[in-house]
């Protein structure tokens, strides 16, 4: 049986930390806050490709669904982040990618996430708050552009250490 890699454990810890932080701090202190989970999903997907990216997104979404208070419909975040992981993984390129490309991939994944949330809200009969939705999307795009390159550098460093 394969033992979990160091990067896998690091991703899991980072994921739980961001989800807990989202509910306990950012959601209570700011009216508009970025999606803290998205950069972690985008970085993992850019590193490992579309299928593994979707798998990681699905797992990340399950953490979001299960950390209290969780999503209003169990499994909805899992499917949403799986789609984001798939989109971000499709943007994977061999070798190092320029910053602008990482920002574009982050924005595309964030847009998929926002669209999914809008559809979930409409499907459940909740009122849609377009200004809040657009604000969250903008903040998440900025966060992805800032946070994804260093996260990828950490993945790269861990992979290099594994091979030596």
């Amino acid at each position: 049986m394969r033992t979990p890699t160091r990067s896998g454990l690091l991703r899991l810890l980072l994921l739980v930390a961001t989800v807990v932080l989202s509910g306990t701090v950012t959601a209570r202190t700011a009216r508009l806050s970025p999606d803290l989970v998205m950069p972690v999903v985008v970085a993992a997907a850019l590193w490992s490709g579309p299928t593994r990216g979707a798998l990681f997104g699905l797992g990340a979404g399950w953490v979001v669904d299960l950390v209290p208070p969780g999503a209003s419909t169990l499994g909805s975040s899992a499917l949403l982040y799986a789609a984001c992981g798939l989109v971000a993984g499709a943007g994977r390129r061999e070798g190092s990618s320029p910053w602008a490309w990482l920002a574009v991939v982050g924005a595309a994944a964030s847009a998929v996430g926002s669209l999914g949330r809008a559809l979930v809200a409409l499907g459940s009969g909740a009122p849609l708050l377009p200004v809040e939705l657009a604000g969250t999307l903008l903040l998440t795009c900025v966060l992805c552009a800032v946070a994804v390159p260093p996260l990828l550098r950490v993945e790269h460093a861990l992979a290099r250490r594994r091979t030596t």
Binding site: G23, L55, L58, L66, P68, P69, G70, S72, L79, P127
Partner: protein
């Protein structure tokens, strides 16, 4: 050609997406199985959230626990925000003559595009909190408990889809129902009010709960909000309007979970005819 590893990953992805779809369908259908999954999540992650929330406020877990064990003397000399919150909750009409468990809000959900629909409190099944219990603050109704783990409980907020509350409006006690706002009003949190009949209701009227069967989740007379505006267009089949909720969710700290009243003596029978 794809490698065996990537094709096995693809199969795993398809399998896990199928399992997720089944869980999602069960949750939408109202099955009890997803509740157990949520309770498991609460049992694992709830204590972490309690710890993070208490450290964020420069508090200790023991001090937060004092919220539930505070004596009257403590409350009179309260300089702690949480204990002062319990003092305000005890004085509120929502808790007068009612048994409740005080708790603090530890997490607020912001997953949807419609703002927060759920929150987490630091009281769970060990504190006698049960699914279906009403939750109030010193300002009025907060919501209903929908999931419970040993250490935490999740509360569906008033205004979230799936929570309709029967209400009385104004001094005449006109019957109606309050639920999520149908139209989008960016930046203005409100509730949709539907009256059952044409009645002299005006803006500023107080909206209170009608009361649930058995007193759970809501007993009669709990404050829901005030009428903000009424739709007076001719031709409306059902009079409708919007209500400004009495509780500001973003500033919630101490809340009370109402415990059900158990009747020990049968209701006396009456004889008509004077």
């Amino acid at each position: 050609m794809s490698s065996p590893s990537s094709s096995s990953h693809r199969r795993l992805l398809v399998l896990l997406v199928a399992v997720t779809l089944v869980v999602l369908a069960l949750d939408v259908a109202g099955s009890r199985a997803p509740l157990r999954v949520r309770a498991l999540g609460g049992a694992v992650f709830g204590p972490i959230e309690r710890l993070v929330a208490s450290s964020r406020e420069g508090d200790t877990v023991a001090r937060a626990g004092a919220v539930r064990t505070a004596t009257d003397a403590d409350l009179r000399t309260a300089d702690d925000a949480a204990v002062a919150g319990v003092a305000a909750l005890r004085k509120a009409p929502e808790t007068t003559g009612r048994r409740f468990v005080a708790a603090r809000v530890v997490a607020l959900g912001r997953q949807g595009a419609a703002g927060p629909e759920r929150l987490t409190i630091d009281a769970g099944s060990r504190d006698r909190v049960r699914v279906g219990a009403g939750v109030v603050s010193a300002d009025g109704v907060v919501g209903r408990v929908v999931s419970v783990s040993p250490w935490t409980a999740d509360v569906l907020l008033l205004g979230a889809p799936g929570l309709q509350v029967a209400v009385r409006v104004g001094s005449a006690g006109t019957l109606g129902a309050v639920g999520p706002e149908r139209a989008s009003h960016p930046g203005a949190a409100g509730l949709q009010l539907s009256l059952v009949q044409l009645a002299p209701v005006s803006a500023g009227d107080i909206v209170t709960t009608l009361g649930s069967i058995g007193g759970a989740p809501f007993e009669p007379g709990l404050r829901v909000g005030t009428v903000r505006q009424l739709d007076t267009r001719a031709g409306s089949l059902v009079p409708a309007g919007t209500v400004t909720p009495s509780v500001d969710v973003a500033r919630l700290d101490v809340v009370g979970v109402l415990l059900p009243r158990t009747r020990t003596t049968p209701r006396p029978a009456a004889t008509g005819g004077g």
